[in-house]
Symmetry: C2
Subunit: 266 residues, 2 copies
């Protein structure tokens, strides 16, 4: 396709046009975003483990209404990630994930250690019904399996600018175009996005994982301002991820949309 | 939001930063893409009229597998639209639609007159699982209500290039940011996209409308090569459309995903 030729001609990716071999293999996830592996059948993949995917009433992602959502009070959320020279970067089939644990989220007297961060395209959350081309999720998990997520929407820059962290994350993206492979990122400096998170407001609500098992009681903290990504990087990531956004769930507290559909059909 | 400031600074949109009033009003569609108005509940909105939305087994959009899809034989599809000095451009809430009838699609000994063309973001169809930022549908309908659709995927250009037709279509987009309004496009010259359609291959399959009533027996003809759009135009359109893509349907001929879900849940 023409799109490949354009990507290949750009400096960002051309350094890796002759992809290195992936550094190793990981086990890809069994769920996906297409046909019977996709979100409408995640419950069907495992009706015990994935019960909340079809029956939960506080499921993510949602359409965030800026007039109705809660905002975190400044200083009430402490988002912290330590810079690292590199990290493991995995293609799980269902997503692209950076394994990095030296960070934490502290809020409401709970400190959640960082487990990983990963990407979705297009965005999972919407704001006043509008979606974004990408979304980044930092997932935190305590020993007691309490989970919290910090989210950043990502918007396309018309001037070719990309948040510097993403340049390093995606530096060796070409190595892991196949599900089940991993490589290493470049040096990861989180000071920019932490400053961004602290500077702008934060939407907060109590939702769920957006992937199986769709567990609930997950507090979300989403920056009100998107991070920038440029067209070349977006397209390179999209070409690997293909599509990995769960459809928008019903309003918090309302019947799961799959239960609504099942009731109509039976 | 920062995004608004960037859009406003760009020449494309700045000519219309002080939006004119819309030229008039139209009746917006009652279905949408959020919560109970969205695709999982289109059947629930009208269980008689929208029966196929939840029960059809040849529903669109699909994930087009380039190894398995059919390709239209060169010359077997005659896609024709006459240039016009301007056309009515409507915001139907569910989509942005250009009303233009002086065109036709001739294939399999049937000539379908053009009814309108409209846009989706993100794309509805996927190709080998990958989605695209936008998609354009030319809808043709005979007096006997036989429908056929010509589709173009739209991909972001890293160099700011936009298919010239879209510059004219979206020239007065700012006027119709509210659902239920309409304005006029600039001059519409279709020679470029017709040439594009005829030059590259065409995926073809028998599917459905992607909006209620989701009627089936709709032949699709989708150009294998996307048309270009630039970041500024994409973001301006996305800011108006918000999100209007139906989720990917099950493989052609397989049980509707909503019936699969209902069976699991009951």
């Amino acid at each position: 396709m023409k799109s490949f030729l354009f990507i290949a001609a750009l400096p960002l990716v051309s350094a890796h046009i002759h992809a290195r071999a992936a550094d190793g293999i990981v086990t890809p996830n069994s769920f996906n975003y297409t046909n019977l592996g996709g979100p409408l059948n995640w419950y069907g993949l495992n009706t015990t483990a994935n019960d909340a995917c079809a029956k939960g009433t506080h499921q993510s992602p949602i359409d965030i209404g800026t007039q109705t959502v809660d905002y975190a009070v400044a200083g009430s959320v402490n988002f912290n990630v330590t810079n690292v020279p590199s990290a493991k970067f995995e293609n799980l089939g269902s997503g692209l994930e950076v394994v990095i644990t030296n960070g934490s989220l502290a809020t409401n007297n709970i400190t959640y250690p960082l487990a990983q961060f990963h990407f979705h395209t297009p965005s999972e959350h919407r704001v006043n019904e509008e979606y974004f081309p990408m979304e980044c999720h930092f997932v935190f998990e305590t020993e007691a399996k309490q989970i919290a997520v910090v989210g950043f929407l990502m918007e396309l820059s018309p001037f070719g600018y990309t948040t510097p962290l993403f340049d390093s994350v995606f530096a060796h993206l070409d190595d892991i175009s196949n599900a089940g492979t991993y490589t290493e990122t470049g040096p990861l400096d989180f000071t920019g996005i932490i400053s961004h998170f602290n500077k702008f407001g934060v939407y907060t609500y109590n939702g769920s994982l957006t992937t199986p098992p769709c567990s609930e009681n997950v507090p979300w903290f989403i920056s009100t301002e998107p991070l920038w990504i440029n067209v070349q990087q977006y397209r390179a990531v999209k070409n690997v991820l293909k599509y990995n956004a769960r459809y928008t769930q019903d309003t918090l507290g309302q019947t799961n949309l799959l239960e609504v559909a099942a009731k109509e059909l039976n």
